[in-house]
Amino acid sequence: MSHSMKPLSPYITIFLFLALLCSIIVATGMGYLEITPQEIIKVLFSHLFSWSFTGEIDKVLPFVILDVRLPRILVAVLVGGGLAVAGCVFQAILLNPLADPYTLGISSGAAFGAAIALILNIFGITLASWFSVPLFAFIGAITTLYLVFSLASNDARLSSNTLILSGVIVSAILSAGIGFIKYLADEEVSIIIFWLMGSLVGTSWTDVILVSLLFLPSLFIIMFYSRDLNIMSLGTTTSDTLGIETEKVRRTLLISASLVTAACVAVSGIIGFVGLIIPHLLRLVLGADNRVLLPACFFGGAMLLLFADTITRAILPSELPIGVLTSLIGGPFFCYIFRQKQLGAG
């Protein structure tokens, strides 16, 4: 049996979790000030559990680790993981390997909201921009989601084509709106463009909490329905007859995945590629079982975005838009895997 697919061991999830943990510690140590893993662990443990260690800890280390690096790293982890999980859900529900978290127009909605906040800033109507941009982006994303759903709602079964088409229509209108705002912004258009390409600069614990609050309940819901999601890949008729309330589950999962996406976009701007390629790539390697795939996507997406963010933060001389980097790193790697898989199958 050359094409055998044996059931996977659950250890793969544990392995990916440990790999992510190590990546977080290594990434925390990297930057203008090099910190060893031992020092990081000491600082973390003394902060979390009030343990005291023999030997001196540099007074500046807790500040660098806890207030500067860790929030940004955790946001990278949550956003990368969130986008990959959302992408996996969208691909499974829309039965389309080309679907990503932005298929339903959420990115355009968020970008439109953010662009409005930024243009208001440029025109001098200041709403505390650190807060207003994510908030407007989130509101934009949710409004778009609502519009897409109401546009698709006369198709009671919420079929994949209707949803994708509704997403495309709403996106097109919003893109025109963004174009108009860019035109209004005139010389200061670069602020909007930089936001559109995504960035994790200046993320704080507020962002970590915002993303976690939306992410954790949604993740639970998504995992709760992961077996149903497997069966739904066999089509509506089959999942109906296997006892799944397909329309209800589909709606619930789409809304959960969209909330995750909206939260990610709100704090980081539009980061492409992670949500499209990570689920696709891991499906090639691990198979299509969402119960294995969804956690793996979280860890895989988290590691990719953390990797990209660490490069732009600690290695490159100046910060690049993170969305550009994720594609530059992930793209060739994906080409390689895709080619290997083709050769293997042929």
């Binding site: 049996m1 094409h3 055998s4 697919m5 044996k6 059931p7 499974a92 039965l95 709760f224 077996r227 497997n230 069966i231 890949s233 066999l234 089509g235 008729t237 089959t238 109906d240 007859t241 296997l242 006892g243 799944i244 309330e245 499906r283 198979g287 299509a288 079982d289």
Partner: protein, 272 residues
Amino acid sequence: MNTAPLFEIQNGCFKYGSITVLQDLTFQLAPGKFYGLIGPNGSGKSTLIDLLMGTRQLYSGQLTFQGKKLSHYKRRHLARHLALVPQHIFMGFDFSVYDIVLMGRHPHIPRFCHPTHKDIEIVDRALKQLDIQDLKYRPVSHLSGGEKQRVIVARALAQDTAVLLLDEATSNLDIKHTLGILRVLRDKVQGGEKTVIAAIHDLNFAAAFCDELLVLNNSSLYTVGSVRDVLTTDLLEEVFSVTGKVVQAAHHPTVQYQMLPDRNYLWGGDVM
């Protein structure tokens, strides 16, 4: 308790938009029989199967399953009683044969639980009955059309329901596997395990394996009854618009069609 008919439909009517697909349906189906659903293309066989599965709702009229309105059942509950082998097989992602057949156990396995020994035993038996145990770990994308169809039948058997509906489940299969599947189903009906309702195109298979036939024509029920009563030369002409004759063989009738336009071919020129 089992005196209630399995399915009972009264004045059933179904429309797609403004197009009437089925009307004036009134019949009962008893448990423990092998029903064949026959009729020309577009006569509403698939729609009737969808109605009986509860995946489509009647436009007007009433449909009950075991004495209770079908639409009042929860899907998960229904899935433990009714299984379907659909006409169109769709597999969006590349699961293994074993995974797909195990999905038939979904209505029986509680959430977040692993399949029990019993579940795995049932799946293995279904794989064996469909002669696909060698394909167990093969991804479904590497299967032929006929192999996929057998996987789907195995999944429906693994669902372990009292009623099995098949919508032209043998259309892609070679003769060996068609007979194989129909024999497995026949045995289950005779052993009292199942009621089978199968839409079948081939009248000879229908005649050989079914107890009763439901004939659909022009969006309504043409007739229902035992194979011997229903399958006649008149039926071939009126419903299927072909010329042929029905030969009463030892166990079941068989149909011989007039294949060629040559009038002397089968009947010595006295037909038409």
